[in-house]
């Protein structure tokens, strides 16, 4: 049953992406991208990744959509018709897809409890984590403590983007002064 729900949601996501690829109205594209993210968040809930789902809903469906709409508002644009036949992109995509088919074919099946990822490293988090960190939510414990350094890196990425956007979009000091003058 759980597998059925997940697979149905995944199928919906595939449909929304196909529609998105064929749409040229950018507003519709952004709305579809938001829908895609929302479906993704739902899939994540079904996959027990509640922390991730919450983030994806807030970030993918929320922040990203707002940012895209904001940028679209500043750019006011409609996608032009593609000028040439996309043979090269198709070839690149097909090759990537084939390597992925090849690579994922032998991977453990869905919900295989004997898969290596359930046998190595993770068991310690689940068995010892609450005692070692005193925190029942293992995602928080791994995120902030066991792999806290990754999270420092992640915060730094956000910081980099923020400071970078300031550098790119800030108007000169002078214009700000002009605005306050009258």
């Amino acid at each position: 049953m759980e597998a059925l729900i997940v697979n149905a949601l995944l199928a919906l996501m595939m449909v929304s992406v196909v529609v998105l690829a064929r749409t040229r109205n950018l507003f519709a594209v952004i709305v579809l991208a938001g829908l895609y993210s929302f479906l993704m968040a739902t899939v994540m809930v079904a996959l027990d990744a509640v922390d991730v789902a919450m983030t994806e809903a807030a970030v993918g469906a929320g922040v990203s959509t707002v940012l895209l709409l904001g940028a679209l508002h500043l750019c006011r644009s409609e996608e032009a018709k593609p000028a040439h036949k996309p043979w090269l992109p198709l070839a690149v995509t097909a090759t990537t897809g084939l390597v992925l088919v090849y690579g994922t074919w032998d991977l453990p099946a869905f919900s295989d409890a004997e898969a290596p990822i359930h046998k190595h490293v993770a068991p310690r988090y689940l068995e010892e984590g609450p005692r070692e960190t005193g925190i029942p939510n293992m995602v928080t414990a791994v995120l902030a403590s066991y792999r806290g350094y990754d999270t420092l890196g992640e915060t730094t990425v956000v910081f980099t983007a923020g400071a970078g956007i300031i550098a790119l979009l800030r108007r000169r000091r002078r214009s700000a002064a002009d605005k306050e003058a009258p």
């Binding site: 390597v99 992925l100 090849y102 690579g103 994922t104 074919w105 032998d106 991977l107 453990p108 898969a115 290596p116 990822i117 359930h118 046998k119 190595h120 490293v121 993770a122 310690r124 988090y125 403590s145 066991y146 792999r147 806290g148 350094y149 990754d150 420092l152 890196g153 992640e154 730094t156 990425v157 910081f159 980099t160 983007a161 400071a163 970078g164 300031i166 550098a167 790119l168 800030r170 000169r172 000091r173």
Partner: protein, 494 residues
């Protein structure tokens, strides 16, 4: 607290801390101080660790005191310590240059942010080199990538924006390829620690997901490496970025990618998986040769000097990959030595180009006519670096080419020796184009009064040029470390 034990963490964390400080301080003079202090400290730390590794072997550091593979491990060995020294050393030279050059190239209220981005880029590159964890590598890769997009976009020309955007698309695709590769490996092994992965992969080197992971990681890293034919993003990025940024990225970014490739090939997959089971040798050989010849030829026909030498970088990456394809200690020694040699050569070259641009207002070949007359030192320095690109004895470039030739001879591939020499002739051609413009033409009337570059630009540039000559004469640091690192990668006692 014993500072000595914590050098691996401080190596990365000090430049990282300098970035928010620079943002907080806001003032362009005040922001420079912590970034400079952190950059120089990072260089000092890398030298200390290099000495320590030479004496007592690899250093492992458990961040958060969580033992690997549950926590994240920093690992410094003979290869990573050399790269750390290279990256932080180049940064230590380029940053003071940046202070002088951005006065002309970047508007003043962005200077503090420029320093912050520089510190972040350095942090990211150091983090990639020092980490022993596959996912942590991705995180620091993104720090260095995001900051370099911004640094490139700060260039004066509007084309810098487009170059940065294209680099962002390329960079994100490549990072996603790397995440896919790491994901496949994780699903097969259950671990993210590179060394642990290496051990667990031993028995499954022929499994399909592992081979697919190899493909994704190779393509992903080669994109960043600008390995021919995946190099398209590089010339624009280097050409329109601010001078200090071109110099820093040209000297370090591609080198760190080579490092990542070596790490995955030899420490994770293991040499047998990569070279015995797949025709990787031939594949890399072909790409390397194609890069050496096609990119050098394209370089000859460029009008803009930054673009010309950017294509030359693509060609030089060909030599670096050629060394890997030999799969021998001599070949890897050549590769690793060329990482360092090419870094100082190209670093010096781009710093001098920036100085020339500051004087002449542009660096198209037409504009630098008579550079040898108005800016004799700068022009001479460019020629010296050019000689190193060609591989003239007495320069750093010669040393690495010499080892490449030795490696080819070891394998009995005489025809390769011939090709290496032939491709050097192409380098003669593109360097000659500069010489012709600089020495055999009179400067344009309005540029005849241009003076030699100010000391703030000239001194850092000449430190790099000096290193180019020094590494050409004394090879104990470069080839010595490179041979040790190559022995370690191939698990041969040196």
């Amino acid at each position: 607290m014993n500072a000595h034990e914590h050098l691996p963490a401080l190596q990365v964390v000090l430049p990282l801390a300098a970035a928010p400080l620079a943002v907080l301080l806001r003032d362009r003079v005040a922001a420079f101080v912590p970034v400079l202090a952190a950059t120089w400290a990072a260089f000092a730390i890398s030298v200390l660790m290099w000495l320590q590794v030479g004496e007592s072997g690899p250093i492992s550091y458990a961040l958060g005191s969580w033992a690997p593979p549950w926590g994240i491990e920093y690992r410094v060995d003979s290869l990573s310590s050399l790269l750390l020294m290279l990256v932080s050393g180049v940064a230590a030279v380029v940053l003071p240059y940046g202070r002088a050059s951005i006065e002309r190239e970047i508007r003043q209220d962005n200077h503090a942010l420029f320093y912050a981005m520089f510190a972040l880029c350095l942090t990211g590159l150091l983090g990639i080199v020092i980490t022993g964890d596959a996912f942590n590598l991705f995180v620091f890769l993104e720090i260095s990538s995001l900051s370099s997009y911004v640094l490139i976009a700060l260039g004066r020309d509007r084309r810098a924006l487009v170059a940065a955007y294209q680099y962002l698309i390329m960079g994100t695709i490549r990072a996603t390829f790397i995440v896919i590769g790491v994901g496949l490996l994780y699903l097969k092994t259950g671990t993210l620690n590179l060394a642990d992965m290496g051990v667990r992969l031993q028995e499954m080197t022929s499994h399909r997901p592992v081979l697919a992971a190899l493909a994704f990681l190779t393509v992903g890293i080669s994109l960043k490496l600008a390995l021919f034919p995946l190099h398209q993003w590089l010339p624009n990025a280097y050409a329109y970025a601010p001078s200090a940024v071109s110099a820093f990225l040209a000297a370090t970014a591609t080198k760190v990618s080579v490092y990542a490739l070596l790490r995955f090939y030899f420490s994770v997959f293991g040499e047998t998986a990569v070279f015995r089971r797949l025709p990787m040798e031939d594949f890399m050989l072909i790409l390397a040769l194609a890069g050496m010849f096609v990119a050098s030829t394209v370089a000859i026909f460029q009008r803009d000097l930054k673009r010309l030498f950017a294509y030359s970088s693509v060609a030089q990456i060909g030599y670096i990959v050629l060394g890997i394809s030999f799969d021998s200690v001599t070949g890897l020694t050549a590769t690793i030595a060329h990482l360092v040699n090419h870094a100082v050569t190209k670093g010096g070259l781009f710093l001098l180009l920036g100085a020339a641009m500051a004087g002449m207002g542009g660096i198209t070949l037409a504009r630098v006519h008579g550079l040898g007359r108005v800016m004799p030192l700068t022009a001479f320095g460019i020629v010296l670096c050019g000689l190193s690109l060609i591989g003239v004895p007495g320069t750093a470039g010669f040393v690495s080419k010499w080892y490449l030739i030795l490696a080819a001879l070891e394998k009995g591939q005489w025809w390769l020796v011939f090709l290496i020499v032939a491709s050097s002739l192409l380098a003669v051609a593109y360097v000659w184009r500069f010489v012709e413009a600089a020495y055999f033409h009179a400067p344009r009337a309005d540029l005849a009064a241009v003076r030699e570059a100010p000391a703030g630009l000239a001194i850092p540039a000449w430190i790099m040029v000096g290193a180019t000559i020094w590494f050409g004469l004394d090879t104990s640091v470069t080839v010595g470390s490179a041979a040790r690192a190559a022995g370690m990668l191939l698990r041969v006692a040196s």
